[in-house]
Structures are given as C-alpha cells and as structure tokens.
Symmetry: C2
Subunit: 326 residues, 2 copies
Amino acid sequence: MFTLWNKYPRIGKQLHQVERLINERLQTNNPNVKELLDSISTDQGKLLRPGIFLLFSQLAENPTHQDEQLIKIAASLEILHKATLIHDDIIDDSPLRRGNVTVQAHYGKDVAVYAGDLLFTVFFSLLAEVMNGSVYMQYNSKAMYELLLGELSQMHLRYSQEQTIDDYLANVQGKTAALFKLACMEGIHFTAPDDENEHLAGEIGLNIGTAFQIYDDILDYSGTSADLKKPVLEDVAEGVYTSPLLFAYAKAPEEFRPLLAKKQSINTEGIQQIAQLVRKHEGVNEARKLAQHYTDLALEQIDQLSNKKAARQIRALAIKLLSRAS
Amino acid sequence: MFTLWNKYPRIGKQLHQVERLINERLQTNNPNVKELLDSISTDQGKLLRPGIFLLFSQLAENPTHQDEQLIKIAASLEILHKATLIHDDIIDDSPLRRGNVTVQAHYGKDVAVYAGDLLFTVFFSLLAEVMNGSVYMQYNSKAMYELLLGELSQMHLRYSQEQTIDDYLANVQGKTAALFKLACMEGIHFTAPDDENEHLAGEIGLNIGTAFQIYDDILDYSGTSADLKKPVLEDVAEGVYTSPLLFAYAKAPEEFRPLLAKKQSINTEGIQQIAQLVRKHEGVNEARKLAQHYTDLALEQIDQLSNKKAARQIRALAIKLLSRAS
C-alpha cells in the first residue's frame, strides 16, 4: 500500500479491508478466467481514491453508515478506477503500470477489453448492494460518464496542435477529477449527509484531482523511467499533449511544430528534443504554477470544513499528495 | 426496425419510442465525440431484447409502471447489448455488423473501447433513473457479469480442441441467454410483479436465448455472406468453435485436427474444408436438434403463463424467431 497512508493508522487498517474485499469480489469458480482475475486482484495500487473517501468519512462524529458499508463504497471507487486503467493501457499500448506488466501486455488487448468490462460490473454490483435507492446511484453513473467523456475527448484531440490549456483542463476534470470529487462527496454523504458540506467536499475533490493530474503529467517531463515505473514521455509519442508541453508550445509554436508533425513516427531523439524545448520555454514551471493554483483552491476550501480536527488531517494529506513533484 | 415486429403494432410503436430515447441519450455537447455517438445511435438493430421485454410486459392487465418507465427499461436492455457488441467487434476484428461498418473498423479499436464503456454508463444511468431501490438493480449487474464471464470464458477456449458442447452451452447461456432472461423477467416485474411468474419468465428467456444463439451459430454454416451481412465462418478463423463444429468434431476428431491446428493462419480453402466436414458429419443437423430442444422447453413454459392471450403472442414470436434457420 501507498506509504502516504502510514501516518493514518485507522485508514491504513480500513484500506487493508478494502484490499481484501476487492480480492474477494474477483474470485471466480470459472477456471477459464481465474488466472486473469487473480492477476488483477494482486496488483493493488495506491488506493488513493478509497483513502480519500475514508478520510472524508472521518469528518462525521456519529457516522450514519457502518464500517462494512464504507469499505464497500471505498472498494467501488478503486474498482472503477482499476477498470478504466485496464482500458487506458489498451489505448496507450502500455507495457507497464505501477511497475507491473499490464493486463493488455500479458493477456492481449482482447482479454483486457472484457477484463475492464468485468470490473465495471463488479463496481456496479457493489453499488447495488450498498446504495440502492440513493441519489448517489445517479452521481456514480454521472462520474463514470464524465470520466469516459474526458478520455474520449482526449483521444479525439491526439496529435492536434490546436488544443489549448482549456481543452486539457476540461479533459483532466473529466478523466481524473470527477472520481476524486465523487470520493470526497461520498465520504460526507454516507457518514453525515449535509448538502452544503457535500458540495464543498465535491469542490475540494475536483481541485485536488485536477492538481494531482497536473503533477502527474509534470512527472513525465521531470522524472526518470525508474521513478515513474513506466516509460518516460510515453504520452507525447501517443499524441497526448499535457500542460508542460502546451504551455511551452504557446510560447514558441514554430519550434515545436516540425517535431510534433512527426506524430507517432517520432523517435527517441525527437522526444528528447521536445523535452528540451519544454524545459527551455519553462513549460514545467508554468504547469507547476497551474497545479499550485488548484492546490491553493483546495486548501482554502478544506479550511472551511466544519470539523476542524478532520480538516487538519485532510489538509496534511493534500499537501503531502500535491507536493510530490514540486 | 426488424420486420418481426410488424405483426405487433403496439410493440412496434413502443420500439419507435425506444429508438428515440436511445438517440436522445447519445446526444452530447462535446464536439470531440459527437460524430462517434451519432454514428452509434443511427445504427439501430433488431431491438429484439426491448421487444421481448415489451411483449412480456403485456402479460399485465393493470401495469404497475407507466409506459414512459417501460420505454426506459427497454432502452437499457438494448444499450447494454449495443455496448457488448461494440466490444465484441474489437475482439473479432469485425469489419461489418448488421451490414454497417463497425465502430472499431471506422474509428479504430481505441475509440471503440471507450465508446462501449460510455454505453455502459448510459445503461447504468437509465437504471438509476427508473429502478433505483429495486432488487432488479442487482439482477441487472448480475446479468451483465454473466454476459461478460461468458465472453471471457469463450475467449479463453479459443482454438482449443478440448472444448465440449457443455462448455459451449455454458458460454452461450452467459453471453446471450442471460440478457434474454433479464428482459423477460423485467417485463413481468415492472408491470405485474409476481415471484412465480418472474421465475417462469426467466426460464423462458433463458431457453429462447439459448435456442436463438444456437440458430445464429448454425447460420454461419448454412447462410451466405449476403444473408448474414457479415463474413461467413468468421468464428472459425477466430478460433470460436460453435455447436455445428463441435458435434461434427466429436464424430471424427482426426479429420478436423490438422485443419484446426492451423489456428489463425488457416486460409479460405481450409475454412471451406472445415465447412464440408461439418456438413459431412451432420453437425448442422445435430445443432438444429439441440436448438429445437431449447425451443420446445420454451414453448412448454410459455403455455404455463397465466395470461393466455399474451402467452399466444409470445408463443407466435418464439416460433417465428426460432424458425429462421430451420
């Protein structure tokens, strides 16, 4: 599990239960798919979304829902995330994710399509158990829709030199921030439902998620393959232009144009030249400023939460999470 | 729309509403995905699952749910079906479906992955609107799970000469019959809920769905490319061995073995040889007997339905639907 959670012993304990539940739900009697599902369940990630959900659930003095139900909601967030990662890796042709061989690389793209789909149904069935009848059924389907619309929209813009920071932010808010927003809102709703606090939690989630994704994209330009546990600048070769590149491009489009025009046929040397241009035109610094802006927004909103003790914990997590690349 | 529904004017009218609703739900303001979603919504199929659902809903004298709600449930069945078709076409590399170019052939496999996913969320959101709080939320997630497990299991067995008719039936019951079962059960439940009738309707759906899939597989061996609106014997080249082949294989494995051992590198001539062997060893006739067995089971169960007038309509539909290849 992510070292981030070491400082939150109660959440760490709950996250172990989340892992156990995910493993349980990926059990099958069908010998033809057992190996596949086992491989997905052992590949546990940072559990960021379940962790944030659980952190927000601690804002409640007298939770309305039992721990067992909270564990199911936490697991549903991670399973939805896992499903989209499996499908992302098909699109990106990724050999590695979190240092592990991806489903698509190990079992082929065909299996990965259905494996992701199967996780969607596990997500759906957890929700049907734990929140059937709640308006959060709709919120979950809306978050999933926004997530996919963000991915599709990003895909449509691949290799386009017309895309702007606004396009990028719209896609990030769909593909990443929508799920953070949901996690924060659910944390409040299923322990101490309150429209105003849920709305505030949603805004916090949106801003944390946006800042998180921007920092993640920055790492592509500032990290090494070993740090990232995946190939560096994979996104550029795939035609996904993130904020460091978009900021630098805006300053000197004519320098980037011939390199980006090579599209998927760009070689390692070309990618290195792009990385140099991004540094030369301060793309990473500008992207950091953008991420800092969303971090600041999140921190201001966190300070408005009524439970001050829990708010301090959330503040500490946000700072830790969002400082990893700065 | 499918000519099958011409004889059912009320259902034909409702199915037009289902088509309109599907089109509405696939509207988007996002210019980056508009063309894609438009292309999916214009490709309307036979509407078999919504039609069967609506037929079963007519068993009720005084329906508990309004027409508008029934249209949403009918649309949810078709959208789930469409989502899985889009993903199936990725796996099968299909250029055509129902005579139309597939999403994967037109937009690429990457887009097709997310397009199918997006339809899953539209399915999910329709359910959240119309049956939030109902146990049928669980039944829907269960049906979707069985459907995908059937697909994954079929994929795992590709090119295997060890597979049996039992494996085939288990996969058919997952990938096709589970959704027919759901459609029939929902038809009863959302108009005249009654445990016994719902159970009976589920059995009828399972048997109709199984027979339907067997006939569909028979067409691959008895139809022409023009009838099928897709390439003939595509399944064999993809390593999917259906009942006509499995029955014939069981009679003379040694004749099939060298041909099947070529796996994906088999050529058109090889496929024709397999087709001849299937005919020689009566594979199609045996498969027809199997389909007839499930049709007979369905007809017996239909006769047990309490509303005799509606039961006659269902019987007529089952006979028409399940006679197309015999």
